[in-house]
Amino acid sequence: VQEDRELVKRCLAGDGLAWESLLKLHTRRIYNLCYRFTGQVAEAEDLTQEVFIKIFRTLGTFDPLQGNFVTWLSRVARNHLVDHYRRTSRDRVTASLDDEEAGITPADPAESASPIARIEARERQELLQAGLMRLSPDMREAVILRDLQGLDYVEIAAVLKVPVGTVKSRINRGRMELGRVLKRIMKIGGVE
């Protein structure tokens, strides 16, 4: 947290290196958030880029007293995702199990992992993504922020700008729904 604040300060002072460091620290987090929300690699990359351009332009509005940088960053990203979701809702087609998503690359893949282990990991990722895409946007973002991004309830409440109780409820319902969907998908796909 302290490191983020220092970097933001240096960025505001015009330090290009600090901006690059900040970018490298958080690109993966925002990309994952975007990918889990959209389920499309190219779209997630475009959204990540747009989010960071927005962050670059509005970095001066970040107030460390109101929360940490990750929360602020996640809120900007989430708002952008919601805007994007509303903008594209007319064109969006319901995700199906047949959706092929190429280019999913798990971070730091172990060199020693066997090809079978890699395939299994990839299948698990695809299964999870298929399940997430079947949740409503409210539940999806709550589950992503809690179980994939690791934010706590208070941080999620700050990102979503809703009471903690609502966050808990959405996470709870989201998890139940996701579990049911995953079970159903595994049953259809014959996954043990």
Binding site: T27, N32, E45, I53, G131, V143, L148, R175, M176
Partner: protein, 256 residues
């Protein structure tokens, strides 16, 4: 505790944030309610699926793209070694090697066709018109050679076909084609390559004897030409063969 309350508290229970009293009450309910146990299993599955999923790695160029769109600098602040490392990534390295190989090949081809000798270049070698003229000339020479090889092969094939046909016409009293003998003298065997001999017929009693002999001479002439690169006129071969009827085949060896 009711089903609804269990539903509301299930996540807290799994996150172990419930108070002891609530937890005990919930566990009592779970012990007697299969439906709520199933619900809890769903949540467990969801949480474990999310938490076991490795974070995904964005493409390498994403950060660079963002940097370019924000600060307008690519690889800002990187040392030249780091920039070189980025530039020499395996994919690029492979492309670079292919590119260099293709350039060397193309250049060699151009120099070959234009007959430019790098060690003895003169001013005229730098003139593109000279390159075009030489390349044109070399192209024609190559074409002519290819044509010659083609016609040679065709000629050999035609001769072999003719011999084969003659062999068929020689009648049922044929000996094994694997052991052909000189016409009129079974003790002397011509040093012809086995490949051509296969098509030769044994000496007939009369009739087509002359044709067989001519064909044999033709093949022999060709075989000499192919093996020793010496052109021996067909007439000479026939003459030697005629003489060989009585005086032996030593002259064939001299020819070879």
């Amino acid at each position: 505790m009711t089903h609804y309350e269990v539903t509301e508290l299930a996540s807290d229970y799994l996150d172990e944030t419930l108070e002891a009293a609530q937890k005990a009450e919930l566990e009592t309910h779970l012990a007697s309610c299969a439906s709520c146990r199933g619900l809890l299993d769903d949540i467990r599955l969801s949480v474990s699926a999310c938490r076991s999923a490795a974070p995904l790695e964005p493409s390498f160029w994403l950060t660079q793209r963002i940097l370019q769109r924000t600060t307008g600098e690519l690889h800002a602040g990187q040392s030249w070694q780091a920039r070189l490392r980025v530039w020499m990534r395996p994919a690029l390295r492979q492309r670079l090697v292919y590119g260099i190989a293709m350039s060397v090949f193309s250049l060699s081809f151009i120099l070959f066709t234009a007959r430019v000798k790098l060690r003895a270049m003169n001013l005229g070698d730098l003139n593109p018109a000279t390159w075009v003229r030489r390349a044109n000339s070399r192209g024609h020479v190559l074409m002519a050679r290819a044509e010659k090889v083609y016609y040679d092969l065709r000629f050999v094939y035609e001769v072999q076909t003719v011999l084969h046909e003659l062999g068929k016409q020689s009648g049922p009293n044929t000996q094994s084609p694997q052991k052909p003998q000189r016409p009129g003298n079974s003790s002397r065997i011509l040093p012809l390559p086995q490949r051509q001999l296969v098509f030769l017929a044994p000496p007939p009693a009369a009739g087509p004897e002359r044709e067989v002999r001519t064909a044999e001479a033709l093949v022999f002439s060709l075989s000499i030409r192919r093996s020793s690169r010496r052109a021996i006129p067909l007439g000479s071969v026939l003459r030697v063969m005629a003489e060989g009827q009585g005086s032996g085949g030593g002259k064939f060896d001299e020819m070879c």
